[in-house]
Symmetry: C2
Subunit: 501 residues, 2 copies
């Protein structure tokens, strides 16, 4: 066997261990009886240790070096060349981190998460502050070990979004912030009653919600022979191969959009994972390439499709027949209700526009804290000030302010910007698809035909797994670098129409 083949076997074992962890985590979130936690924690800790050790072992390194030698003769655009590049990138990152630090991050993460839960429940920032301090310290060490050119934040961002930089994120926000702030101001000027969301709060049977949502996601292309949907406290998508992709959702019997748009969102992630080429399965090229590209798909299917007027022109009659309580609500009123823009304090409840302001705030706070320019003690005040500045609102307490998100407690610093990046890319890709499909996509959506859009995404994005970097993928599929113009135009057009601006 060649070193390339041996390296594939070895990394396939690592993928098997990683996806086994993913099965255990899915089970924990959806099935496990409460008392199972302790055993599950020891299983997960062991699997993570084994896969890390196996990956950074000298045996892997020797195979990698030998396979790199073999790869010199290959077409640089071949799968095998890409495989070697991805393994090298992952290996270097993993090998740079001392095992002690990896273990400390894991144990701190689970303790910090526990403390964060209690702190949020009591709105007691002081309880979480020492854990945030410790998390920042550990993440600074990670960045220092990984190395960076310009700023420390880049090293962490790169873990979620390869080849993205804080500078590029600043540029992106510099472009989208002024028009979004202006748009929000205009919308707020219309007064709080311009769009009525009361119909969305009418009672809606959970089982009927499930039936309707399942019908829609099947139409999108979610393949139930290769995936499943379950209830969970937090909606998420996980995949063990392109043939076993699982999403979760939560139901609110007095707020239809919760499970509905949650399901469409997670289905976007799932279509991506299901669409990765089968030949990458069990290979390190399997799965989505970055959080930003992933989010572009969840937001595309949730918002560009699922919150479009065309989509509801097709599906609203079916929704009404499932929920007769909506009988007196017109399509237009429903469409406006699900697109209502209103500055609010909680990110996960935010509308399409203000969502990005929540992300900007977090990006600015976390980068300042990481660089030590903002102390953990001063962070809540900084949060509240930015909240007032961007959203015109001040949190009444830290539970609805700086304590609201789970990410920092996990040790995820540098994760937030990928949400806005996904929003921006979603429109760029949607418009490229629409253009390439002769402008037919909106009409297809109105007829409930999603295959052409999905297949375009499959051909241009999904199938490539981790072969191309996010920047390469966007360039290849839209013939441009990441561009905020389509996104700004889309929001201006869509909400201009709704709010008659």
């Amino acid at each position: 066997m060649t070193s390339m083949e041996l390296l594939k076997q070895r990394t396939a074992d690592i993928v098997s261990l990683q996806t086994t962890s993913a099965v255990l985590e899915w089970d924990q979130q959806t099935q496990m009886p409460p008392a199972g936690t302790a055993r599950r924690a020891s299983q997960l800790a062991l699997l993570k240790k084994l896969s890390h050790d196996m990956f950074i072992s000298s045996q892997t390194e020797q195979l990698l070096v030998a396979a790199e030698g073999e790869a010199e003769a290959l077409d640089p655009d071949s799968d095998d060349s890409a495989f070697i590049k991805v393994v090298r990138r992952d290996f270097d990152k993993a090998a740079k981190l001392p095992t002690k630090l990896v273990e400390e991050i894991a144990s701190t993460g689970s303790l910090a998460n526990e403390q964060w839960q209690a702190a949020r429940a009591q709105s007691n920032y002081a309880k979480f502050a020492p854990w945030l301090e410790k998390t920042l310290d550990l993440q600074r060490q990670v960045a220092n070990h990984l190395g960076f050119k310009d700023e420390r934040y880049d090293a962490l961002l790169d873990l979620y979004e390869p080849e993205m930089s804080a500078a590029a994120v600043r540029t992106m926000f510099g472009q989208i912030k002024p028009p979004l702030v202006k748009l929000v101001k205009q919308i707020v000027g219309r007064g709080p009653d311009f769009v009525d969301t009361e119909p969305l709060t009418r009672e809606c049977d959970e089982e009927k919600q499930r039936t309707f949502n399942e019908m829609v996601i099947k139409a999108f292309g979610f393949d139930f022979t290769r995936g499943r949907q379950d209830r969970a406290v937090h909606p998420f998508c996980t995949s063990f191969s392109n043939n076993d992709v699982r999403i979760t959702t939560r139901y609110d019997s007095h707020f239809l959009p919760s499970a509905l748009f949650g399901s469409l969102h997670e289905t976007g992630h799932a279509l991506y994972e299901m669409g990765v080429a089968g030949r990458y399965d069990g290979n390190m090229l399997q799965g989505g390439v970055s959080l930003g590209i992933h989010e572009s798909q969840s937001r595309l299917w949730e918002n560009l499709v699922g919150r479009s007027r065309g989509f509801w022109t097709c599906f609203y009659p079916q929704l009404q027949s499932q929920f007769p309580a909506l009988g007196d609500v017109t399509l237009d009123a429903f469409y406006k209700a699900i697109n209502r823009v209103k500055p609010s304090l909680i990110r996960v409840e935010a509308d399409e526009i203000t969502y990005n302001l929540h992300i900007l705030l977090r990006f600015e706070i976390e980068i300042e804290m990481l660089e030590g320019r903002l102390s953990v003690a001063d962070a809540p005040a900084a949060w509240n000030a930015k909240c007032e500045e961007y959203l015109g609102l001040t949190p009444a307490n830290d539970a609805e302010g700086i304590l609201q998100d789970v990410h920092w407690s996990w040790g995820a610093i540098g994760y937030f910007p990928t949400y806005s990046l996904g929003n921006v890319i979603s429109v760029q890709l949607f418009e490229a698809a629409s253009h390439s499909l002769g402008g037919e996509v909106p009409a297809q959506i109105e007829r409930g035909e999603f295959a052409p859009l999905r297949e375009w995404m499959s051909t241009n994005i999904y199938q490539w797994g981790r072969k191309y970097t996010p920047v390469e993928l966007v360039q290849r599929s839209t013939s441009r670098s990441i561009d905020t113009t389509p996104y700004i135009n889309y929001l201006t057009r869509k909400f201009g129409e709704i709010y008659k601006l």
Copy 2:
């Protein structure tokens, strides 16, 4: 740290890997989308290889030898002494088997199982015969590697039932076969219409079955904070710790007993696993000690409790209120229906008495094949002849004859006797409990009070996990060795009353 402590850590990792495999297998049977099979197979193969390699490594052996030295100073009845004994027993067995052979058994098992499924579906024994030949050959190798005193079969039986021998199984069957054959003959003499089972085939809503069964198993003591019940094609019980024990069941909307007694049976297994002392959790003493002791618990809760007149005196009114179709069926008629004795061809559908004759037949056939005294080619004829001799019936084809059971396709030779052993032990334990509880157990069951019986089992059996051997457990808890007399008396008394013999 002492070598004992280090050995505990190391074996805890092995337990974590083994229970991780169990989670993946449970998921495969109950949740996994159909297309997930390939990835799952590679995950399981890797985990099994890793845990085997880790267990038989020289590192484990050195720790074991050192810990054995430390244990010499300990009380031989202490947990640590038992731990060392159990690790030594498992280690010697695992280390004696060449890794090649273990891998060949695993891969043959999954192929043979696939071929068996097809062979059974087509009732085509010739299709399965070469795989049975291969399986027997591999199992002969296993027995030869493990070593044995008297007969090769002992080495395999010992894998499922430590310290049990073919000779002891022959003795057991020698004692129970004559009275059971006589009893069956008397019952058959009563004519086929003596007991009417038609009421059991009346339509019964699956959801209502689930509700009723769940109510009963909760009353038995199944703790849903430490376990769950799901649907699966094949009922089974699995456990990842004493705090995460899962059972499955299947529903037949035209045959109430299927899910009902299946649930009670699996709950017996689950109560055992949930009852193991918490201090053994993650230790090699965790879990049930043998299949025979396990089956004694499943059969005890299914038959001694669940098929008793007292149990239904308490629960039949509730069953009737759930299933009004049973309104015209008296308690006496229902009790007799669920206890009808009728020789039949299929083991899993057999009644309490004839079940053992199915097992005897399999025990005799597999031992003869293993020793090479019966050829694979001649086995179907031998099967059919014994079937006629013990049950008075001849299979019309091999699907309802020699192809009916899955066990041999998995490579499980020496497994079947544990079913009858479980039957025998179930009554011996039940009577010991009843005696020790002042003869109150039947009256408690009639009042729906199961805690005293469960707690007696917990104290005498469950809590000890793998600390004592099956023989020791029976001796300690009943002050006698395994004894068939209570079992024969129980069947004679119970069915004598039902059939007025």
